[in-house]
């Protein structure tokens, strides 16, 4: 931080000396890093925000949730973003205090590659079994029973998981643990878990790597962000929710899932198995983290402005970008909480 402000002083000094532009001194630069899952929408927001607000520059680096938290705790950034929120002990290590704000929400889908099979139904007794390596064939009786009228091939299932540590895996395994005791006592929840060793279990790096692998492998299934699956036109499975209904991923299912969650004081809420007839079972918020106290009031003000912009203007483009807009009551809660950034 010190280094940075020193650099800023030098840079500003140089600018003033060279161009005699006192206006340059009022430019506020905000740097953030973290989650790659919301990065496409964040970068769009920040670009538009910068255009609408002269004198504020926002830079965001999609390094991954864990790297973002580390940067945030080392004070090398002004804000960070994470899909796995922040642990209590991590929050306790930040002297200025931490304000977490959910900014958008997304869905995780099971995308698959089966010739001619559209809108596959996967019961909640089945898909944890696939990811545990227990259900190995596409024409397994349990899958056939849930898909009347669909001819499923006698083909082995290739399961694609994430090779790198990721918030997507965290949310996905949290859901699997919530619905399957076998999964909970086996791999468990985490940003990386110990997937069973099978010849038909492959791993690929990042959301795009998993997407590409599913697309190139007949008989593959894997978990990716909704936006990625939609962009690459992969088939997505309808999943059985808590009430026993099969729900396809998309805006309605996601919004229904979010509607059932109550946001607590610290703004961290998980939906491992949302209730509601229309809820898609795998939806999650994603957070930005701010310090409660900033050295420069201009910076704090710019950050508050940025949050409000994301809430008011940003949510409008969320659906188009493949994310779920925040429900109205959440928007108001976040707006109120953003006042804590000082």
């Amino acid at each position: 931080m010190k280094m940075k402000s020193l650099l800023q002083v030098v840079a500003t000094g140089a600018a003033v000396a060279l161009f005699v532009l006192p206006a340059a001194a009022s430019e506020v630069r905000l740097t953030g890093s973290g989650a790659s899952f919301p990065a496409p929408i964040y970068t769009t927001w920040f670009k538009q925000f910068t255009r609408a607000n002269k004198g504020i520059q926002v830079n965001y680096q999609a390094k991954g949730s864990g790297a973002g938290i580390r940067d945030f705790m080392n004070h090398t950034v002004d804000f960070a973003a994470s899909d796995a929120a922040m642990k209590d002990e991590e929050i306790a290590k930040v002297a200025e205090g931490v304000q977490l704000l959910p900014m958008t929400a997304g869905e995780i889908v099971l995308a698959y590659n089966l010739d001619g099979v559209k809108g596959l139904n996967l019961p909640r007794s089945v898909y944890p079994g696939i990811f545990l390596g227990k259900i190995k064939k596409w024409n397994d009786p349990a899958i056939v029973a849930a898909n009347p009228g669909v001819t499923l091939p006698d083909e082995e299932i290739t399961v694609v998981t994430r090779a790198d540590s990721s918030g997507t895996t965290f949310v996905f395994t949290k859901h699997l643990c919530a619905i399957s005791p076998d999964f909970e006592s086996g791999p468990g929840t985490g940003k990386t878990v110990n997937w069973p060793s099978e010849a038909k279990m492959v791993k690929a790096p990042k959301n795009d790597g998993v997407t590409a692998t599913i697309k190139q492998t007949p008989g593959a299934i894997g978990y990716i962000e909704y936006g990625f699956a939609r962009m690459s036109k992969l088939e997505m499975a309808s999943l059985e929710n808590k009430e026993g209904h099969f729900v396809a991923p998309g805006l309605e299912g996601g919004q229904a899932a979010l509607a059932n969650a109550v946001i607590p004081e610290n703004m961290i809420v998980w939906l491992p198995d949302p209730a509601g007839v229309d809820s898609y079972p795998m939806a999650t918020y994603t957070w930005m983290m701010f310090y409660k106290k900033y050295d420069s009031p201009e910076k704090a003000e710019a950050l508050r402005k940025m949050v409000i912009y994301c809430l008011d203007e940003g949510q409008k483009i969320a659906d188009k970008a493949g994310y779920i807009p925040l429900p109205a009551n959440v928007v108001e809660k976040v707006r109120a909480a953003s006042a804590n950034i000082q």
Binding site: G188, V193, A199, P205
Partner: protein
């Protein structure tokens, strides 16, 4: 003439004269500079090893040598072992060396032993060296989108008909050892080909003429005379190629399947040390980072051993050639 030269020397106008103080200064400072750079490089290496080693200490003291023989990698249970990665690194590198080495040396023979007009040789040589300029991630993407669909029918055929051979015992699910090895061998091909070509070009023309003079055919000359004479250089090329294969990261991370598994099957997913490091570092916690540093030390050690072994063999074959 002689008189003139002598007198010239006295007036120090000739080519040979004692060095001036500027020359001496230049010479000394050049020496100092090169010496500094050499030591700086060595110190830099020492510093890197020290840094990695120090960060690895917590992991080394926790997991000890069991780390090298355990096969579990479970971040949540704090259980770490890299035997599958060590196996995958060596297995993929050896296979790639076998393939890339064979083709690399063949290319070097083809391009240096007067099979083609000189101009065409130069063009082909440059094109092959261009392979080295392709970024690793492009190789990875090419592997996923082009190579895997291309080899899938072959792999399925081999698995269906020759599944009893351990190398073909599983069916190819996409990313796996085989596509990774193919891409890896293409990546080390330019290194092997270029250095082997230099080794062949370094042989004096007389050697070949002498072989022909003794009545050898062209193939006898190449296989019995040229190849053994160039063997030191070719071996150096193979060692360098192997080193590159060991450390190759991104293309492998995308193609190898990243599964913690030890399998002889070419179509099974595997993992390598470099891919493990690259994929897990960005999100690693404190302990995991230390464990990864430990794995990095192991990779460094493997590379070092390979280089030492390579150097030893080269020096031995070199002395053997002189006899």
């Amino acid at each position: 003439m002689a008189m003139k030269q002598l007198s010239g020397a006295e007036e120090s106008h000739s080519l040979s004269r004692p060095p001036s103080s500027v020359d001496i200064l230049f010479d000394k400072s050049f020496r100092a500079l090169t010496c500094t750079f050499t030591w700086a490089t060595i110190l830099l290496l020492a510093f890197i090893v020290y840094k990695i080693g120090r960060q690895a200490i917590p992991a080394v003291s926790t997991y000890g040598l069991g780390f090298l023989t355990s096969t579990t990698w479970d971040v949540n249970a704090h259980e770490f072992g890299i035997l599958p990665e060590i196996w995958g690194t060596l297995y993929s590198s050896f296979l790639a060396l076998f393939l890339g080495g064979f083709f690399g040396i063949t290319i070097a023979i083809f391009l240096t032993q007067d099979f083609l007009p000189h101009k065409l040789e130069m063009i082909l040589k440059n094109i092959i060296e261009l392979l080295a300029a392709i970024p690793s991630v492009v190789y990875g993407l090419w592997g996923i989108y082009v190579l895997i669909p291309l080899i899938r029918p072959v792999a399925d055929l081999l698995h269906d008909n020759l599944g009893w051979i351990p190398f073909f015992s599983t069916s190819l699910s996409g990313p796996g050892m085989f596509p990774a090895v193919l891409v890896l061998s293409i990546m080390i091909l330019p290194t092997v080909a270029a250095i082997s070509q230099d080794a062949f070009r370094a042989i004096p023309h007389k050697t070949k003429e002498a072989a022909f003079g003794m009545g050898t055919t062209r193939w006898e000359a190449i296989l019995r005379v040229m190849l053994p004479t160039a063997s030191g250089g070719i071996f150096g090329a193979l060692v360098l190629g192997f080193g590159r294969a060991l450390g190759e990261t991104m293309a492998l991370a995308m193609l190898v399947g990243n599964a913690n598994e030890i399998s002889l099957s070419l179509f099974a997913p595997a993992n390598t040390l470099a891919a493990l490091l690259a994929l897990n570092f960005p999100e690693a916690g404190e302990l995991e980072a230390s464990v990864l540093m430990y794995a990095a030390c192991v990779l460094l050690l493997i590379t070092l051993l390979v280089n030492i072994a390579g150097a030893a063999i080269i020096s031995r074959t070199g002395s053997g050639g002189k006899k």
